[in-house]
């Protein structure tokens, strides 16, 4: 098995944080699939977001069809309840009292949760990295919007690359971005470990809705494998922020979760206006990007692609992903046999 085969990558990604829901969507238990695992996401009575396995250990009732109760989440089938933080069973209504509980109290698996960027993040195994807190927004007062998630039949790395690609603007986004130059200027890339960053100058395009706010400096900052961000800097016009974190449902299936925020100094519209504008841009991507082949970035080198200098950000992103996978494999002892390649 190659170091970067599909199976090796999926195994490594169990140690990375991914989004499983929007913060606004979990007042009732909500089903999610991450790396092939069935999960349920809900907000418990204390307001804490929780992620656990989806199916009850008793007879497989679907907790996503259950409800939040004082002691966690209640299975719709026999009413067993589970604590969202520990996964421990907190109630079996069919038993007269807790002393009759089975000696090894049953539990479902519960996962760590972080709520950030208006989304719910989890990690299936011991996390290799912290969920990033990008330094460039630490001093900005942001008004967040979580966009409607976009399911796509491609891998999450391919979706992340789309967000970091500038050479498709002129073709995919002529509608929103207007007559933008197809030429991608030379870029200075900074890569260190799993982070890749660059800045491009995006001059206003006459008559285009996307750049009607004026010239901007776009600061890209990517954290491999799956968090990509752009801080838009309009000078005196203020700042806005765009984040993209496609979540792997399976090797060739993802849900593109993304969010948009306006800074308190932003002078060109509300957070809702910008969300609507960026939604148009994403809607232009979906029909094109969801049909690419291969469906995921071929890190195993089995498909020959051609690259050019305009791909420099995504090529560095791939390298950063490999760095992530190398580090996870080393730390958790996932040895790939090179002889079997």
């Amino acid at each position: 098995m190659s170091r970067y085969s599909k199976a090796a990558l999926q195994q490594a990604y169990h140690h990375c944080w991914f989004v499983v829901a929007r913060s606004q969507d979990i007042s009732k238990p909500k089903a999610a699939v991450l790396l092939g695992r069935d999960l349920v996401v809900f907000r418990d009575k204390d307001g804490q977001a929780r992620v656990t396995d989806r199916y009850c250990v008793h007879r497989g009732g679907d907790l996503a069809g259950g409800e939040v109760c004082d002691s966690g989440v209640r299975c719709p089938y026999h009413g067993w309840t589970f604590d969202g933080g520990s996964g421990k069973c907190t109630g079996i209504p069919a038993l007269p009292d807790a002393s009759k509980f089975p000696p090894n109290a049953p539990a479902i698996r519960a996962y760590p949760v972080i709520e950030r960027f208006a989304h719910i993040w989890t990690c299936l195994e011991e996390p290799m990295f912290d969920l990033p807190n990008p330094p460039e927004i630490q001093n900005l007062e942001l008004d967040w919007r979580a966009a409607a998630p976009i399911p796509m039949d491609i891998g999450f790395m391919a979706a992340t690359e789309n967000f970091n690609d500038m050479a498709h603007f002129a073709f995919v986004h002529a509608g929103s971005m207007g007559n933008v130059s197809p030429i991608v200027d030379s870029m200075q890339i900074h890569r260190s470990g799993r982070e890749v960053s660059t800045t491009i100058f995006y001059p206003r395009v006459e008559g285009s809705e996307f750049s009607s706010m004026g010239d901007s400096w776009m600061h890209y900052h990517v954290y491999a494998p799956g968090l990509a961000t752009i801080l838009y800097d309009y000078g005196e016009g203020g700042h806005r922020y765009l984040v993209d974190f496609p979540s792997p449902v399976g090797p060739e299936k993802c849900i593109v979760y993304w969010g948009s925020a306006t800074c308190s100094d932003f002078k060109h519209g509300t957070a809702d206006d910008i969300l609507a504008l960026e939604t148009k841009v994403f809607e232009e991507d979906t029909p094109i990007v969801s049909k690419i082949v291969p469906k995921e970035v071929p890190l195993d080198g089995r498909v020959r692609e051609f690259s050019c200098s305009a791909d420099i950000v995504t090529l560095n992103y791939r390298r950063a992903v490999m760095d992530v996978v190398d580090k996870i494999q080393e730390r958790f002892g996932y040895v790939q046999s090179e002889a079997a390649e």
Partner: protein, 318 residues
């Protein structure tokens, strides 16, 4: 940016002409800055992260300053815009040490031609030869009001200087080239139109030398093959024991493909990483733009499409 970068403070911002400002950069600790020769440029990393290169035109009397002049380019790539509208006194920037690709060669007779902000590398050249060689400076621009560094230009011996603002009349480059003495060297920095015209005219004069510098040199993905100055070296393919010679002007990949057409490769420019190959022995001359400095030092791999050898032999894991 690398470890050798300087951290310099913007100590003076001065309006020099319409759309032209000058910057004085100094070491906040008061140190002397690395020396440079006329024609040298520095690379600035602006607060936004953009990288831009600018020619140096003055060093300050004690060598503690770098001075550059920047024209606000309409329809530019955002660098000059940022310098003009957003840079402040006291900002500290990462600055690469000076590099010179436009060196003034020894000679007897110089013709300097500057178009607009192209005066910046040309001015220190004229100053350097002003008291010893035969020389003349032609400085063209849209109008006197738009031509930067005129104070400095006026301090040169005025008999050797021709100012040519377009409002008075267009510089007759054809005449300058025709009248150049045999053996003369022409140095020109200006808009592409001017450089192209000059190159065409000088093509008919084999007895004079032309050296030019263009605006807007790109900062990355530069051509990776050095060409003429490359030396041949030998590659040993560890797995088969085969040895092949890589001549100057060729690459390891090109020569390997003659032996094995299935060698993985893609961009052939050192950006994609597909041809990354493990190095067992030898010193690599890395010319790719993908590997970080840290990776170059720790990973022992190379991109065989463009990187070469510093040692006579490279042993590769192929």
């Amino acid at each position: 940016m690398s470890d050798t970068d300087l951290r310099l403070r913007v100590d003076c911002l001065r309006r020099e002409a319409n759309q032209v400002i000058s910057l004085t950069l100094t070491d906040p600790k008061g140190g002397r800055l690395p020396d440079w020769e006329p024609g040298a440029h520095i690379k600035l990393r602006l607060p936004s992260g953009l990288m831009r290169q600018y020619s140096l035109y003055a060093r300050g009397s004690d060598g503690s300053q770098y001075r550059i002049a920047v024209k606000e380019a309409e329809g530019g790539r955002g660098g000059s815009r940022e310098i003009h509208s957003r840079l402040k006194l006291g900002d500290v920037l990462n600055v690469s040490p000076p590099v010179n690709h436009f060196r003034l060669e020894p000679g007897q007779d110089y013709i300097f031609i500057a178009g607009g902000i192209g005066i910046t590398p040309i001015l220190p050249m004229a100053e350097a030869v002003s008291d010893r060689s035969s020389w003349h400076l032609y400085y063209a621009g849209k109008s006197l009001a738009s031509m930067g560094l005129l104070d400095e230009v006026r301090r040169l011996p005025q008999a050797n200087v021709t100012l040519a603002p377009a409002e008075i009349g267009k510089l007759n480059i054809g005449e300058i080239v025709r009248q150049a003495k045999p053996g003369a060297q022409i140095y020109c920095c200006g808009p592409n139109r001017m450089l192209d015209e000059l190159a065409a005219l000088c093509g008919e004069r084999h007895d004079i030398a032309l050296r030019v510098e263009r605006f807007a040199a790109s900062t990355s993905a530069a051509p990776v093959n050095g060409g003429a100055s490359d030396k041949p070296f030998e590659v040993v393919m560890k797995r088969s024991g085969r040895r092949i010679v890589i001549p100057a002007g060729s690459t390891i990949l090109t020569e390997l493909l003659n032996v094995d057409p299935s060698v993985p490769h893609s961009c052939c420019q050192g950006i994609c990483g597909v041809c990354e190959t493990k190095v067992i022995e030898g010193v690599v001359d890395h010319r790719d733009t993908l590997l970080t400095e840290e990776e170059r030092q720790t990973k022992n791999t190379m991109m065989i499409c463009c990187s070469r050898a510093r040692s006579d032999v490279l042993v590769l894991d192929i």
